[in-house]
Symmetry: C2
Subunit: 326 residues, 2 copies
């Protein structure tokens, strides 16, 4: 582990209590009935990647003000709201190794608690009276919801192209991470140039983050990630490792395997075999390589920031995204 990476880990540890305290304050102010569901989801130990990005960009641009943690937490609430609705969609039993909210509280309270967290994210931003932040979060909500709908529509659709796959992950994951970076610049009153740089950094970091996530789905054991191995394939999702594997097959074999994968009744043993082939032939690793090219773009975008500790930490964030194993 190099020095910047160690510093980033130390920064996460140092900042987490204040971020979590801001989150807890907002949860405590929610109506009594929503608190248990909201607290369950927010306590589930996310990495708080999005709030951290807001903090780092704001500080890199000499943010002077208070309550930055609360603003930074808004996109974490939005992120959690989408996870709650998403787990219902995926019919997922686990989230970060803990039971998904809807398996404990039922679908309806989870849908509505997701709505409340979304409303809370929105309200925190509205409190700032800053139209640039309002505009940013309203677009982020729209793009994230759109990305998720595209993802559902693509389930068991074998004709999905690599470009469509990138469009889906950009929508469902990258725009929110882009917005977290943009939030920091807007809060600090940074220049248009800094804002464009932050957006480019966040968008590419977000795409890479999801690419690595989709690679981990094939390689990371359930006891680490809390999810079954090859879960995406079993749910009919054609993510990049699988798309690359299919591209590598001779045309006749590709047609047969593709047909198998669109069949909701494909035997689990055959599913296991394809998962093993995808990993064994290095397509999870090739997906990480693809992430690298986006991370290069993210790294270049950091040039808009002045030399400072936070810039170094954002550089280390790139390494974190690439090397994480859960």
């Amino acid at each position: 582990m190099n020095e910047a990476f160690a510093q980033l880990k130390a920064t996460f540890l140092k900042e987490l209590p204040a971020i979590n305290a801001a989150i807890a304050r907002e949860i405590d102010a929610l109506p009594k009935l929503v608190r248990p569901v909201a607290a369950h989801v927010m306590d589930a130990g996310g990495k708080r990647l999005r709030p951290m990005l807001t903090l780092l960009f704001a500080r890199a641009l000499d943010f002077r003000g208070d309550n930055l943690q609360t603003l930074a937490s808004s996109l974490e609430f939005l992120h959690s709201a989408t996870l709650m609705h998403d787990d219902i969609l995926d019919n997922a039993d686990l989230r970060r190794g803990k039971p998904a909210a809807h398996t404990i509280y039922g679908i309806t309270p989870t849908v509505l608690a997701g709505d409340v967290l979304l409303a809370l994210a929105n309200e925190i931003v509205a409190r700032t009276d800053n139209p640039a932040l309002t505009s940013c979060i309203s677009k982020a909500i729209m793009q994230t919801a759109t990305g998720e709908i595209m993802e559902i529509a693509a389930i068991r659709k074998a004709h999905i192209t690599r470009a469509e796959y990138i469009e889906i992950i950009t929508g469902k994951t990258a725009y929110l991470i882009q917005s977290a970076c943009e939030f920091g610049v807007i809060a600090a009153g940074g220049s248009e140039r800094a804002r464009t740089g932050a957006k480019t950094f966040g968008l590419n970091l977000g795409i890479a983050f999801q690419l690595v996530d989709d690679a981990l789905d094939y390689t990371s054991r359930a006891d680490t990630s809390g999810k079954p191995l090859g879960g995406d394939l079993r749910e009919g999702k054609f993510t990049l490792p699988l798309l690359l594997y299919l591209e590598s097959l001779p045309a006749d074999q590709r047609a047969i395997t593709t047909r198998e994968l669109t069949d909701v009744n494909l035997h689990p043993v055959r599913q296991d075999q394809i998962v093993a082939d995808v990993v064994g032939q290095g397509f999870a690793e090739k997906t990480r390589d693809e992430a690298k090219s986006y991370l290069t773009l993210a790294s270049q975008a950091l040039a808009v920031l002045p030399e400072c500790l936070e810039k170094k930490l954002l550089g280390a964030m790139i390494e974190f995204v690439l090397t994480r194993d859960k």
Copy 2:
């Protein structure tokens, strides 16, 4: 039908095409995949009560500007988003006499399309760069979602008080109607006094609207409202007609009937009998009487407006809410 009421009907007919055109423009700009679900819900022929309230308040205060219909439509999108999530909750098959969205498109696409409509409402308001509007809609989203959660939590809970019932309907219905009125004043740049008056009007109109809705649930045939008679009772909801009926019973009988009503397996024939008692003993009518007292407050609040056609039409709106039969 008096003259003002006739004028209100004529105004609805005259304004509807422009409101519906603004709604259609926004739907057409949504991502292709969301459009069918969104269009299904938005085409289902709502009364467009909320956009109309925004228009009337803005014009009463000499609104000068364009695109008022688009702003006015934002709360209709928010309203529809809550209906979509709500119908999943109620497991409702029909909405305004047509199949509920989730029965055609499935739960997940409906949850996500609801998210998109909520995001759209938000985004339309963000476009105005007006923090007062942003703050207003963000609170409306929060209060509406909270009211719905309170409503679920109260299902088959016999100990609900009349005050709690009013709190629920204020949250789930009245705040959004209040916001529609407030939107008009803010858009027109009206005074603080006008804004307070508009809020008081909207809040009380909204509470009365829901009281009449809950009375209609006991008296309006399915072929008129699109819902089964006494549906609220069957779903375990203690609305005012039922609360008044229970209050009228001797203590021992009240205890027995209350216990029956909290039983999810209560026989439909016994349900029919209680519905008939509630109506036969005049408690739907008494609920309408209760609505009248809120409408009196709404009527008084109109004093903040200058004498004008719109003020007269808002007065007629009060009559519409009280006398509607579907």
